[in-house]
Amino acid sequence: MDFVYSILIFIGLFVILASSFDLVIGHCGLISIAHPIFYAIGAYVSAMLSKQSGMPVPLSILCGGVGALLASALVSVPALRVSGDYLLIASIGFQLGLIELAKHFHEIGGAGGLTNIPSFLIKDFGRESYVVLVLALAGVTVLFIRWLTQGPYGRMMTAMRDDELAFSMLGRNAIWIKVAVFAIGSGIAGIAGGLYAHYFRFIEPDQFGLLQSSAVLTMVVVGGMRTTMGPVIGAIVLQLMPQVITFFNLPPSILGPLQGLLFTGLVLFFMFVRPQGLLPAADLWVGRKPLEGAGHSGKEARS
C-alpha cells in the first residue's frame, strides 16, 4: 500500500509543480527551467526549520514557500532588468550553483542528503491523511492558477506575451509583472518542496537538478501549456508511465535507460507531432463570467 501512496503523493506534488511551472512559462511566457530549485529551497527551508528549531510543520512548510518566493527575486530581478532572455541562463546558473553549494554545506546534510526530517500527520492519522492533504493542496493550486489566469491578471499576462512593447505603451510595467508571477510560481513550488520533505523525510541536493527540470517541462509540454488540466494530465501520465514500464519485468540494465529515454522521446514526439500538447489551449483569451460583464454581445462571439 505504501507504494500506491507514494505514487499518489508524487502525482499530487507534480501536479502542483507542473501547474505552477505552467503559470511561469506558459501563461507569463517566462523562459526558465529552474523550477525544481525553488522546490528544493522549500524542502530545505521547511526541513531545517522544523528539525532544528522545532517549528510546527505546517508553519515551516509555509516558511519554505515564502523562502522560495523571496529567493526567486534574487534571480528574476537582476535578470529581467537586463532582458527576458537572460532569465533562462541566470536561473539555470542559480539552480546548478545552489545544488553544488548545498553539497558542500554539512549543516544541511551535504551531498549525502538531509535525513530524519520530522514527519507530519502520519504518526497520528496514518499515511492516508497525508495523501489526502497533498491531493487537496494540488486541487487548490490548480483552482487558484485557473482563477488567476482567467481574471484581469491573466488578461494582462496574455497581452504581455502577445506584444510587450505595445503592452508597455499602455502603462503596464512588464518587468514587475514577470517578477511577481515568477515569485508566485516559485513560492508554490516551495510549498510542494516542504510537502515532499515531511513525507519522505529525506532530501538530497542532486534530486533537484536538470533531470527534474526536464521532467516538469515534459509534463507541461505533453499535457498542454496554458490550460487548466494540461499540466494535471501531464503530471499523471508521466508519473504513471514509468510504473507501467516496471510491470514488464525488464532487467534493470534496460529499465534505467528506458525511463530516461521516455522524457526525451515524449518531448521530441510532441514537439513534432502535437506541439500544443494533449490539451490545446484556446487561441482567444476569455475571462471568467463576472469579468465579462452582463453585455449581450458576450455570448455571440463565443459561438
Partner: protein
C-alpha cells in the same frame, strides 16, 4: 499658451542614419498637428523617442512641463502619453473589448497584491474600465464587434481598435502613426470624427499620415519633416503648395 508636449534639440542617429536632427516641436492642447514627410524621414522614430522606445542622443522632452528623461515607456504612458503604431501591434489573443480593457492609465490588476487581497476594488475598477471601453467602442462604431478576435475584423477596423485602445488612456497627448493607411470608406469618417472629438476635449494630438487629403481635413497645422529635420511648419495648404517640399516628398 503652454504646450502639452515640448521637444527641444532632440537628436538621434542609428549608425550613420540621422533620424532626428535637433528637432524642436510643440504640441498644444486641443490642437491637431499633422506630421508630413517622405518614407524614412524619421516620423515614426520621433514617436519612438517621445515614448521612450528609443533613447535620444541629446535633447529634452517635456509632457505638461515634466521632463520625460530616462523614464521607461510605461511611466510615460501613465503620465498621459498614448500612441498608436504604424504596424498596429494589437493583442491577437484578446478580443477587441479586452484589447481596450488594458488601456486605462491605472489598470484594475496592475498590482498582484490587489488581485489577491482586494477583490472588491478589482471588480470596481474592472466595471469602470468596461463602461469606459463600451463608451469608446460606441463612439468609434466598434460595438458590434466588441467580442470578436482582432484577426477576424477588417484592417480598417483594426486601425480603429488601435485608436480606441489608445483613447482608454484618457491621454494628455496622443500620437497617431498612420491611422489611415489601408483604411477606406466609412471608417475614414469615423476616425476623423473620433480624432476631432478628442482634440475638442483639450488633448494635444500629432498625426503622421501620407494621405494628404486626410491631413488637410483634420489638422489645424502641419509640420514637414525630412531626413530627421523639421523643415517647415504652417497650414497644411501652405505645406502642400510649397514646390520645394513637394519635390522632397516625391523625391523627383
Amino acid at each position: 499658451m503652454s504646450s502639452t508636449l515640448e521637444i527641444r534639440g532632440l537628436c538621434k542617429s542609428f549608425g550613420g542614419i540621422v533620424v532626428a536632427d535637433s528637432i524642436d516641436l510643440d504640441l498644444s492642447p486641443g490642437r491637431v498637428l499633422g506630421l508630413i514627410g517622405p518614407n524614412g524621414a524619421g516620423k515614426t522614430s520621433l514617436f519612438n523617442l517621445v515614448c521612450g522606445v528609443v533613447k535620444p542622443d541629446a535633447g529634452s522632452i517635456r509632457l505638461d512641463g515634466q521632463s520625460l528623461e530616462g523614464l521607461p515607456t510605461y511611466q510615460r504612458a501613465r503620465m498621459g502619453l498614448a500612441r498608436t503604431w504604424q504596424n498596429l501591434r494589437l493583442f491577437p489573443s484578446l478580443s477587441v473589448m479586452d484589447n481596450l480593457m488594458l488601456g486605462p492609465r491605472v489598470y484594475s490588476a496592475d498590482r498582484l497584491v490587489d488581485v489577491l487581497f482586494r477583490p472588491a476594488q478589482i471588480r470596481a475598477n474592472e466595471a469602470e474600465a468596461r463602461d469606459r471601453a463600451r463608451d469608446i467602442l460606441e463612439r468609434t462604431g466598434l460595438s458590434p464587434i466588441a467580442q470578436s478576435r482582432v484577426q477576424d475584423i477588417s484592417f480598417g477596423q483594426q486601425k480603429l481598435v488601435g485608436v480606441a485602445r489608445a483613447l482608454m488612456n484618457d491621454a494628455r497627448c496622443l500620437l497617431l502613426d498612420e491611422p489611415m493607411a489601408g483604411v477606406e470608406g466609412q471608417t475614414y469618417a469615423l476616425i476623423q470624427k473620433a480624432v476631432r472629438d478628442i482634440a475638442a476635449s483639450g488633448v494635444a494630438i500629432c498625426v503622421v499620415e501620407h494621405n494628404v487629403a486626410f491631413i488637410r481635413d483634420l489638422c489645424d497645422e502641419g509640420v514637414f519633416m525630412f531626413a530627421g529635420k523639421v523643415l517647415a511648419r504652417g497650414s497644411v495648404e501652405q505645406l502642400i503648395a510649397d514646390p520645394h517640399l513637394t519635390e522632397l516628398y516625391f523625391g523627383t
